[in-house]
Every structure is written in structure tokens, then in C-alpha cells.
Symmetry: C2
């Protein structure tokens, strides 16, 4: 019981900082996503794909969350994008205070698209609001179609699912009809993009979606 | 700071229950594994594969940990194996008290092999001792070879890695030499089994390994 009360305090404190983050990001008209998913679902690969298209049109920065290492940040920096690394030192999720600190290291006046790549974890990050406009879950077909019902919070709280690694779906037993049925039963309004970072299937549709979201938040600066 | 102290108390309390679990499992000569890995790494599929071979020789029970749903337990029960389901109700890992409660529902006098399938999560479950003989991490090649260095605790604390989905490695950019170099740099004594649940590559080697571990713990009853 003690444990539960403490957890509530942590989340309440987190929500307050997230609210402050959201106000600043709204004032500065920065479209902000919290990119979630299991280890190896392809979060960084998708960012590499979309940065190629979006970086010429928008002022984009990535906050890169990892337990340890700067490997993903180094991958993204090759694409001439600004990256701020957060190493959680073992913690299983980013929290709003970490994002607040990271944004203090970014020139947010010029920014129009902020991507926060969370720690690879399909459970814990769902509970922590960071101040983003939307949560987006990346899930690869190699993980199996049963994941939405087994890890429902992530899918209930996400506005978008990016279904990745579509190029190898034929080598898996992924049942795409079951997947849609389950994910829509959890969240009827969720938008699904089927993509592959190898063939680039679905990548332009995803970029166009982000374009429209950035425009509706205030557009390019 | 308060949060850190509380976390220590939770872990200390967990360690005491885990120690009691370990003493009972030792007294009853039950070889016990804590099976870990990301969502979709293939933990349940591997259990389905090995149960076919081990269930005729040993008295095997599975404690099945999930946030919600009994889907994995239902998959395993089709193979005529006793399964005890733990639903954590959203918690991101099993703890020793959950396992203690589950074992109270098992006839442990007759058991020689206990498998605890943890919640799919490459971060949090590593910190929680359950009283097992060894932690085993399942990782699929589709997750990428960079995962050991990005999620080191799990690999440092595991005695075995089961590298799964070897049948589709050629459709990925998984660098197996990098994987071995990284995983051995974290844990030089870690044992790696390369397996596929589709072709059954490596499954017999894994079963033989479990046979020898069960024998050294006391053998079949």
C-alpha cells in the first residue's frame, strides 16, 4: 500500500512537469511526439528514414532516450539532425523532468518538430506523460500479432501505431487481421501505418502525416 | 532521494522472499529458470518447442507471467503441461512474492523442472531475484545485434542467452560477430544457444543442456 501511494506521488509530480513542458511546446508551436516500442521494434530506423524527408522542410530535433550508450544518437547525427542524448542510467522510461532538462539544451525558438525517442520498453513508458502532443508506438511484425492485448496500455494511450518490418511479414506467422481487430478493440481511433525501412513502403505516407500535424501546430519557422 | 530509498527497501524485501523461495526449491531439488526477454522475442514459442521433448522425461511446471490475458498459458496447456498464470495487472515484472504465491498452488514434491516465464521486458525484470537457479534471456535476431550493450543488466545477470529466429537471420542486418563480441564483453561466461522454433535448429542442444542441469540438481523424481 505504501508503495502504491509513493508511485502516485511520483506520477503526480511527473504530470505537473509534463504540463509545464506542454505549455512551453504549445507556446513555441512545436509538434512533439513520444516514440515508444519494444527494444528492436525499429524506432531509430524509422527516424533515420523520415529524417531524410523531413529535415529539409522542418527544424527537427531528436531527444534520444537510452539506458546506456550513445549508439542511436550517433546513428541519427549522421543524418545532420540535432540530437540530445538522455542516458537514464538503468531507469526503464523517460520522465517529464528529463525532457524538461533536455529542452533547456535546445534552441526551441527555431524548432517545429520535436521527436522524443523513449527507452525500448512496451510497458513502463506508457505511464509517464512527457508533455508530448501524441504517443506513437512502433511495433514490428516479428513481435507477433498478440502484443496489443498483452500490452494494452501502450496501445490505448497511443494515437498512432507504426507497424514495422512489413518486408519480412511473409517469413512470420503474423496475422494482420487479428492485429487490426485487437488494436481497434483497445483504441478505435488509433491510426496505423504499415511500413518497412528496407523497401520504404509506407514511409512517405508517414512523412505526409507528420507534415500535416506540424502544419496544424503552427507550421515551419 | 526518497524514491531511491524506497526502491532499495522494495528490493531488500524482495531479496528476502527470493532467498526463502530458493531454499525451498533447493530442498525439493527443483531446477528453476527465470525466462526473460522483450515482448515477441519468442519465450513462449521456445517453451512450446522444449516441452515436447522434456515433458515425457521430467515433471515440469510453468509459472506464466503476463500483465493481462491468459493467452500464453493457454498455448502451453495444449502441450499437456501444468501452468500457473500470474497476471500482474500492469506491473512490469514478476517479483519473489508472486512466485512464492504461485508455488503454493503447485505440488512441488513431485516437480523437477520449474520454468518461470517473466513479463516481456528487457529492462525491469533483471533487478528482481525470484529464487531461480539461473536467469535465461531470449533475444531474437530481428531485435538487432546492438541490444546487449543497450540493455546490459539483463545480459550481465543471465547465465544463458537463447538467440532465437535464426531461420530469418538472412532477412535482417544482424551482425552475429558483433553480437558475440558485445555479449561476451558484458559476461564472459554466458552460454549462447542459437535456435529456431520453425526449423528446430538448436532445440535439442538446449533440451540436452536442461537435462544436464536438472540431473545436477537432483534428477527426475
Amino acid at each position: 500500500m505504501k508503495q502504491i501511494l509513493i508511485q502516485k506521488n511520483i506520477l503526480k509530480n511527473n504530470d505537473e512537469i509534463a504540463k509545464a513542458n506542454r505549455e512551453i511546446l504549445k507556446e513555441k508551436e512545436i509538434f512533439t511526439i513520444n516514440l515508444l516500442g519494444s527494444p528492436g521494434s525499429g524506432k531509430t530506423s524509422i527516424l533515420e528514414c523520415i529524417i531524410k524527408y523531413l529535415n529539409s522542410k522542418h527544424r527537427l530535433t531528436v531527444i534520444e532516450g537510452d539506458l546506456y550508450t550513445t549508439r542511436d544518437a550517433e546513428r541519427l547525427e549522421k543524418h545532420q539532425v540535432e540530437v540530445v542524448q538522455i542516458n537514464t542510467g538503468g531507469a526503464c522510461h523517460l520522465d517529464a523532468a528529463m525532457v524538461e532538462k533536455a529542452t533547456q539544451n535546445i534552441d526551441i525558438d527555431k524548432l517545429d518538430f520535436l521527436v522524443i525517442e523513449n527507452v525500448g520498453n512496451l510497458v513502463c513508458p506508457a505511464a509517464y506523460d512527457l508533455g508530448e502532443d501524441m504517443k506513437i508506438t512502433v511495433m514490428s511484425v516479428t513481435e507477433g500479432h498478440d502484443k496489443p492485448l498483452k500490452y494494452p496500455s501502450m496501445f490505448q494511450r497511443s494515437s498512432v501505431v507504426i507497424l514495422n518490418k512489413m518486408d519480412i511479414i511473409e517469413y512470420t506467422n503474423f496475422d494482420i487481421d487479428e492485429f487490426y481487430k485487437d488494436v481497434k478493440s483497445l483504441n478505435k481511433d488509433i491510426k496505423v501505418f504499415e511500413v518497412s525501412c528496407i523497401t520504404e513502403e509506407g514511409i512517405m505516407e508517414l512523412c505526409n502525416y507528420f507534415d500535416s500535424q506540424i502544419a496544424s501546430k503552427g507550421g515551419s519557422k
